[in-house]
Amino acid sequence: MAGCTNDPYRSSEKGANVFYTTFNEPPKHLDPARAYSSDEYDLIGQIYEPPLQYHYLARPYELEPRNTGRVPEPLYYDKEMRALDHDAPAQRVWRAVYEIKVNKGVMYQPHPAFATDAFGKALYLGLKPQDVKDVHEIKDFRATGARELKADDYIYGIMRLADPQIESPVLSILEKYILGLKEFSDLLRIDLEEARARRRAVRGASYNQTVDEKEDPIALDYRRHPLPGVEKVDDHTFRITLKAKYPQFVYWLAMPFFSPLPREADLFYKQGPLADRNITLDRFPVGTGPYMIDTFNPNMEIVLARNKNFHEEGYPRRGEEGDLASGLLRDAGKDLPFIDRIVFKLEKEAIPRWNKFLQGYYDTSGITSDSFDQAVSVSAAGRAELTDAMKKKGIRLATSVRPSTYYCGFNMLDGAVGGYGPDKRKLRQAVSIALDYEEYIEIFNNGRGIPAMSPLPPGIFGHIEGADGVDPYVYGWDRARNRPVRKSIEEARRLMEEAGYPGGRDGEGRPLVITFDNPWTGVDASTMINWYIKRFKLLGIQLENRTTDYNRFQEKMLKGNFQFFCWGWNADYPDPENFLFLLAGPNSKVSSQGENVSNYSSPEFDRLFRIMENMDNSPERLKVIREMLSIAQRDGPWVWGYHPVAFALLHDWVGNVKSNAMANNTMKYLKIDATLRERRREGWNRPDLRPIWAIAIVLALGSIPAIISIVRKRAGKKK
């Protein structure tokens, strides 16, 4: 018992420059062509380096080059390939060309895919099962190599997006823009099917595609087909040609989909014996970033170690106002990264995760509803503050508005709640007023959210603060308190009357029944549904809940078989286009399987959207966005809902922390004071053995009567 400790780490890790954090479910994909979720980006963002990144400190978010000379400026050409001005109208632009220069001397991480023999031949190609019988992880290969980053690697990475076997989630979007990508993808699909047909012909009736490709994966040769939209200029320069003007394309260049990928690595991982041992590119990335995978055990822990080949990169020298005063520029210009290893531990349950954070074994933590009251109190002024217990431990609170929106919507194709007549608009406006999101955020989010006035969250160009930004159909403005005030329920009832539903009943006295489709499960689901039912009831509307499983819900959305629903959207990039396209007619879910789930279609909104999407941020663009928002607010296809605010807790030994909702590569900026952490952990975690001794004594005392009874029985027998 004397050696008891609650320290979950090995003693060799004491005082090490390691950052400890958690993940709550194993990442699905680490392949940069497939990964598309924030937990996956937390890992690969530290390993892969796409051409651009978001500045860590500057706000509003701005892009900066990563391994490339500068942020590329597109060159526009008309049909005759004559150069056009930067602000040329989209209709005139036939091609948009982005030329990207890759820095020289950038090296990949050490990796067996680069290992060669004395003759320069790859050491680990053509592997047989017996060659890898002792290989469980990539670090089990004895030889590694590295090479310089080339333009070819970026080109190869883009070509992989078109590989049908990879199932890249963004292929359908990029095919619309990158010249020839669709044709290239179609040709690769034909190659794949032909390869399968050949194998089928050899195997006959016993052909089993899954088994066959497991034993011998099909490696498509991308060089067989042209991809005119992506061309190499020289070893360190390449060009991407788009079929149209698309200013948001630069944001894509900051996403892992555009990471460079060495062909050697792809071929290395496409070997059956390695795939059999789960050693794939989807688990063991190969990049040029500050970190590389050291241990990949998604069922327990994922460890990133410093990449010794990482190129020179300094901590930012500038930030926004206040960064200097808060010490965020103290390390300006210093070499990155600061931390040697990053350990991600699997913690599926919130309670152990939270307790281990409080014990100092995790460096940061989110706040679940269960622990919210323990961590945060709301001041008289309505501001969230840490509780005294947290302050005493030196814990700090960081908040940030996510570039996300959670909304509820009406099916605009539905006869009862859809349509564009004044009565239908009034019905939807009444519901928007009745759904009091200030209350919802308090009840279900512990105040962690901002009621939305439009799809655009704060921090996104086009979001307007103050009186000018409110939705006039749902809110008024309280000049005295300088804040929006939701219109009264009486106002909503009046709108219902004008819509032809006085007291929630139609002209013939029948109650208005609206169906509510959702896939919600979990402890809060029924309470949330009841909240919606209660709010609709204030208008006399009967909300009929139709909770279904996720697949049925998706199917209903696809077919337009619903009236009212709730949904959410996380932005891919910080541009209003990435939110407003959710209301653009051509993206209707029913007609084109797009992301406009409400199937909202306003010719005027769509016309303005086409103008806005091709504009740079400017007062003119702001004017267009305001017009669009005003149309959408009038038509009310959505109840705007809220924009979530993320709360994160940090121990005082973690430095250089600034919330950045767009960047996914921020771990290189973080700093740890490992000595302070060790001191704190020791102080917080002294084992207490007294209750154990007390229990042992009670048990010993409790067994005395039994012993006496045995002795008596024996004595009785002897007599």
């Binding site: 979950p8 090995r10 199932e167 899954t210 152990p352 307790n355 014990q359 084992p687 009567p705 039994a706």
Partner: protein, 326 residues
Amino acid sequence: MLTYIIRRILYAIPIVIGVNLLTALLFFYVNTPDDMARKILGEKNVTPAAIENWKRDHGYSLPSFINGKERGAARLTQTIFFQKSVPLLWLDFGRSDRNNIDIGSEIRSRMWASLAISLPTFTLGVFLEIVFAMALAYFRGTYLDLWGVVLGVVMMSVSALFYIIGGQYLLGKELKLFPISGYDHGIYSMKFLVLPVVIGVLSSVGVGIRFYRTVFLEETGKDYIRTARAKGLSEGAVLFKHALKNAMIPILTNVVVSIPFLFYGSLLMETFFAIPGLGSFTIDAIQSQDFAIVRSMVYLGSLLYIAGLILTDISYTLVDPRVRFE
């Protein structure tokens, strides 16, 4: 004995095929390959073409049971059922639908973590249950028996979740004696195992003590025990030498059939203690609609169940000479 075992294994084949067929039927009627594709491909940018491509690349574009477009044997072999289920017979579990990992390799690596928890929990649990049950039988009718039974009933009435959260809170958080959760390899795993094993034993021991106490009391009321006592044997010798041996049939029925399932691990324990075992593997697969994993785990479950039954039958012959293989 060998003939008997072979015969039992042959009997098992139709059961295993039946289980496979039922799993496939249930899965495809409740959950179509389109649903699987939609769930696995995610929420953003999922086009009908992407769903079709996913099905084609994962072998789900074939007909379920009969392929009318093929001729001869291919009518049967070029179907989802044949392609996905037949390799299971030689324990080729294939790749997961969700992230393409090799399922066999995953099962092999997760199995050891499950065993690291379930084996000591099971062994220690059975040992304590038998010892305490015998002690209660020994002190039958006394206040020790009474309070032992009351404690057993209380322990079996409390939810396992309470033991887990309470144990983590008391021993991990308040007394700081063990890590609240986590796992490590080799010798380093020891400190992570104590808490879940203690909690696992505590949460199961109440039921076991009550059950075995009943078994022992039934045995101690039989004639041969009275004869043994009449011969002047000590109570300890009566219990350990005579009653225990004859109570082995119900004990083995309970114990041996559970042994193969130790590989399966425990969902709750593994989730709360972040142990990378097989316990949550199937549940995660069901939630993410990974039919490949569900199919493999159901198949493995049916094999383990059959193995458990055969082992139980064999163990009967070891403790009771009257039982013969026929």
